[in-house]
Amino acid sequence: MTTTVSVERSDQRLATAPARPAVSISHLSKSFRIPREQAHTLKERVLHPLRFRQYDVLRAVQDVTVDIAPGEFFGIVGRNGSGKSTLLKCLAGIYAVDDGQLAVHGRLSPFIELGVGFNMDLEARDNVIINAIMLGLTRKQARERFDDIIAFAELEEFTELKLKNYSSGMLVRLAFATAIQVDAEILLIDEVLAVGDAAFQQKCFDEFGRLRAAGRTILFVTHDMGAVQRFCDRAMLLERGRVVDIGEASLIAREYNRINFERTTSDGGAGATATPSPTPQLAEVLNARFESADREPVLTANQGDRCYVRMEVRFLAPIDDPVFSISLENESGNVAFATSTNVHQASTGHFEPGVTASARIAFENWLAPGRYRLIATVAREGWGDDAYDVHTTSSIVVLADRPGGGLADLPSEIEINRS
């Protein structure tokens, strides 16, 4: 049952343990009653008083316990329906908690999504003020910070424009710029970086870095394992409302991929096996990322430039001629480009257990502008079907100065002859 934490007790805790957690969750549970048949009218309820008593209980979050230290960048990952958004809503104080304890030390941002309460019929100025007040600023503060918000969003010329005339990218910029003006010590962020152009995304990442440097505690819910690895100190993996693991961000990202791609890799074999047998892992992809010519990690690439991917693989068993391969998937899930050591060299040689190999793949970037997900695989010799490990956490945004039509923008010439 829920017990009330008195202020005195928490002060004592402060005295004994100086590093008091910013957010302390213990045995938190939240379930929803889903009626088998929804009765929305009195008539239904009066005519069939018993029918609507039946309901299913959906246990969205079960027995979650975690302490998040002040200044920590904490990721919450999991598949759709794993309970991560419900957990965040409990933290944000939007849902009442069924059971367990929740203690927050510091001012918490009361929002979990950008641009809530934006009204398309009003101008940017009104919307920013309304949104800022919703997020906890006073009207006076909201007015004072308006110029900063607009400057950050780079929308100085559009303040008198109604929001319905904004592009989706402009909306996100405005919303993000407003949200970061809130002086919260603890920020809850639910998948905010899905939209916006590459340059603004970079600005958001920089802003995250700044918030982190300023000692803010950030709880970040996402599917993007690349972002988790880039920003988070620690992460928590949820599956069906329960905690699978809490640990270092890269470990959790790997585990997320394992759970997510278990099915796909086992289905890829000759006879699709129903239950993947827990075979010991023979090799693992430690890391895969895009980098520049001078080996610095990059998030964007210009069309026409040479593009580099580095993947690091650790071998856990003696392996002959493994296949290193990468493929780039665009946002609609089509593979735009794939290559592997099969194409380039027949033999990659022998690797002893404990050896870490690094592969650098270079290619001419003639991809159409857009975002691409990197899938790096190490596989058994052959055609690369039988993967030892798959790594899917990085992505890159290809920038171009002209719009592309297809998957690739190959250098082309057109000659017209009149007969």
Partner: protein
């Protein structure tokens, strides 16, 4: 630095700060008001001109065409005052019914005191009431009524309506989340209430059903408030006070008690429902 236990941590009706509550309610009401006249050339001028034009039509119709009120002086002004007050009640309660459901996005994404929503609806209606009162005053002066101190009583009447409307609004908005048929039921109930209240007729019409009936009818808060409004504005023996119409102060006190009871009931029910309202939408 705050420490909050799980039970008190979740969403609530009132939240933790009076300042934030007030700012949110005012901002939401102001936005609603702004959107109403949004896009029109005259903008806010419409909020004054619209009731003025509307009531001029009503006034001319009922005093020159239908000739209701049979020679009672200032019948048109009486009707106008009543319609302005009734319009407030209809707007405040009618808009309150689905106010939580239409703001689902807000309720599901942001923590803020839930009570802000129904109260901002009342507040928007109050802005309109204030605008409409300007029209009433214009008509009163045009009818040759000299301003008097008793006009200040109208403020008390308005407060009565605001408290009543807010109470019903809180009750209906929380009920509507559970039962969607609150909307049609309230539409009918409001109609019945309109014809049961002395809006177009005078409170002494209840006399046809007996002396006691009139006393009971005056316990209806709108009967007492409307009667008192015209007494304050126009006065004279044609427009006696609510207590005079009720043959005693008892029914008037009863009406005040009903207003307080409805407000308390709405408040209690809303506070009770608020923590789970986001889940039940």
């Amino acid at each position: 630095m705050t420490t909050q236990a799980a039970r008190s941590y979740g969403p609530s009706a009132l939240g933790e700060g009076g300042r934030r509550f007030t700012e949110l309610a005012l901002t939401m009401a102001r936005t609603e008001f702004k959107l109403r006249y949004f896009g029109s050339v005259l903008g806010y001028v419409w909020s004054l001109v619209r009731p003025l034009l509307f009531f001029t039509v009503l006034y001319l119709f009922f005093t020159k065409v239908v000739k209701l009120g049979h020679g009672v002086p200032h019948y048109g002004l009486y009707l106008l005052t009543n319609i302005v007050l009734w319009a407030f009640l209809a707007e405040a309660t009618g808009n309150a019914v689905n106010c939580l459901v239409v703001r689902e996005g807000l309720l599901r994404k942001v923590r803020f005191p839930r009570m802000v929503i129904p109260l901002s609806v009342s507040l928007t209606a109050t802005f309109n009431l204030a605008m409409n009162f300007v029209t009433v005053i214009v008509f009163a002066l045009a009818s040759g009524i000299f301003p008097s101190v008793s006009w200040l009583e109208l403020i008390a009447v308005a407060v009565g309506f605001i408290v009543l409307g807010s109470g019903i609004g809180m009750l209906l908005s929380a009920l509507y989340v559970r039962f969607r048929d609150v909307a049609p039921i309230w539409e009918v109930a409001l109609q019945v209430w309109f014809y049961g209240s002395p809006v177009m007729y005078f409170a002494n019409a209840y006399r046809h059903f007996g002396h006691v009936f009139q006393q009971i009818a005056m316990v209806n808060p709108t009967a007492t408030l409307l009667t008192q409004a015209s007494h304050a504005l126009i006065g004279g023996h044609e427009y006696p006070s609510a207590a005079a119409r009720a043959y005693g102060i008892g029914p008037v006190l009863g009406a005040i008690a009903v207003i307080i009871f409805i407000f308390a009931l709405g408040w209690w029910f809303f506070v009770h429902e608020a923590p789970r309202v986001a889940e039940k939408l």
